[in-house]
Symmetry: C2
Amino acid sequence: MERRRRQVDARKQEQLDPASASGEGPGLIDTDVHNDFAAREDLLPYLPKVWHAQWLAVGTGVGSPYYSPVGVLRRDAGPERGGPPGSDPHYLLRDHLERFAIDYAILTGAGILEMSLNPDCDYANAAVSAYNDYLLEQWLPASPRFKGSIVVNHADPAAAAREIDRLGGHPDLVQVIMCSGARTLYGQRCYHPIYEAAQRHGLPVAFHPGTEGRGVAGAPTPSGYPSRYMEWHNALPGNYMAHLNSLVCEGVFEKYPELRIVAIEGGIGWLPHLMWRMDKNYKALRDSVPWLRELPSTYLRRHVYLTTQPIEEPQEPEHLAQIFRMCGAEDRVMYASDYPHWDFDPPKFALASLPREMRAKVRSANAAALYGLTGRPPAGGRGGASHAD
Amino acid sequence: MERRRRQVDARKQEQLDPASASGEGPGLIDTDVHNDFAAREDLLPYLPKVWHAQWLAVGTGVGSPYYSPVGVLRRDAGPERGGPPGSDPHYLLRDHLERFAIDYAILTGAGILEMSLNPDCDYANAAVSAYNDYLLEQWLPASPRFKGSIVVNHADPAAAAREIDRLGGHPDLVQVIMCSGARTLYGQRCYHPIYEAAQRHGLPVAFHPGTEGRGVAGAPTPSGYPSRYMEWHNALPGNYMAHLNSLVCEGVFEKYPELRIVAIEGGIGWLPHLMWRMDKNYKALRDSVPWLRELPSTYLRRHVYLTTQPIEEPQEPEHLAQIFRMCGAEDRVMYASDYPHWDFDPPKFALASLPREMRAKVRSANAAALYGLTGRPPAGGRGGASHAD
């Protein structure tokens, strides 16, 4: 029953975009899959002993005052063997990658990204390094279809750069990732060592939302704290707009011309407005940003990638197509499911809402180019018999 | 009550004759004109003596760390008799209203809105009351084409409500105004007395940007302070998105169903995204906002007015028309010049960028309906031959 449903899902997916079934390049790529650890104990083998008691007692130490009435994790995605959704590599392969015929999943972590917002940088540095080693040993060997993200502590940029240098040569680590909650904006000079290291290794730097207002981060809006989870969640893209604005205005893309930014899970509909406002102001105020040599929107178009989940859902689907055309996003948007979070989008849903001519790029080509995924996964990958149920 | 009847009459008139500009209704209305005082001394006759020394020494006491390389005021708008641009009612009439054939100007003040961000509420209450009395005595009698905004200190909502009760019956005071920089979001319960008083008097409540990050306000972005004026200015709409999100999610428009909000000078292009994101999240998370009886976008469409300056300027003008259609903004957008600020838009410029079928509404009908401006200004108003250039 379960197997049949997955087969049907996969077949529907291939019908949606027949190119995926026939081509030589990779098929569907999911750019936001949250792998979790089953228990805090899982990180202990990789964490210096001095931090064990703290990690077991408080974890990242970065809580949230908001409560989602539908939960944060999908209730139907718990592994058979127990543990939270996303914590069993083999179950995740079956429950998500095989069900939806996904060739590659970019693993973005869970329960660790907010580490940058703990006030103790030493503790944060140790915890993210432990997580990265755990990822390398426990997840990446489980399947060639898993690609990992190097989690860094953005509050200690020199240490973050060292972590990128330590791991940036691993062929299955395809990007750097940090939470978007922060005390200062991402264009500011303190962060440049992170971008320098990422560029040195040819790795994109991804942001992930959901930590706004947590730990030592600023309030989630310029006027303080929303009252409830829904209102807080509605407001998250405001921080993305602020970070991208900062990256452009501070000249980061002139200083690091090969840097690419991935703005995960922040929506897309605000991008045309941001481009237009920045370009308009630039025409009058460019004296204050003399390092910029092109319109601000040009940098956004060239350097920033976005992911689909949670894609906006206008009543008129044509409106979304218009938004994409306004910001030239067809080469910059990548499919993401956000598995196993409550607002998960299956590929059929996310891709069907896009203009037909964009679907092949969004489902695969844009992510393949960004992450250097040139072919289908090796045997043992998609449909690999050893893990099939 | 009287005012509300006038507004209903104006709306009926508009339905009968949508091309109100050509009929008996008012012509061009400018909804954001900054009247200034020539010197701090101008307010002393209206300010209790205990505050004189403080007002003369520090004014609002709310500075800004940002410097605009083109200045904040138009260099060509200084009155012949001296004083800053916008400080001479008669010069403003000639230099702006007569030059552009403007029937009514909604005066939005200058050098006073940020008073809400001074830490001392008693001082702030006294200063805004003094400004309002100065406006009544020095500006509104100068021309029937001037309509005023009651400035309130939003940090002391009970005092703000008393100020609205004190002045709300004046026929030439057509709205309440407060700066958008704040410590807490505008849907939160502390502010409800302001909305209750505004609704009682049939007055819209306007927000004006530019105080983000100043005085006791929160940082201008969820990740702290932009580095320079241009970057700060690019980010201002983020606070509008947060306030509108808060007003809807907190149920303010259910509690005060006749309340109308005017989001001055914040742009428009972000509105479709905000509507779609709020509606999407509402479908999953509405348990947490049980007081909402309609989709969030419905409240925004019904209760929120926007002004044109600074209108977004996409390279393809059709993109702006698409944005308007996405958010149903044709009945909610009003022309604004922002005179005499650096980014001033003359009417021809602002209106030419709009879809043709919207222009009559934006130039006049929407503001006429909102502010209850049913006819042409009395003699001595528009077209005074002596001052025509």
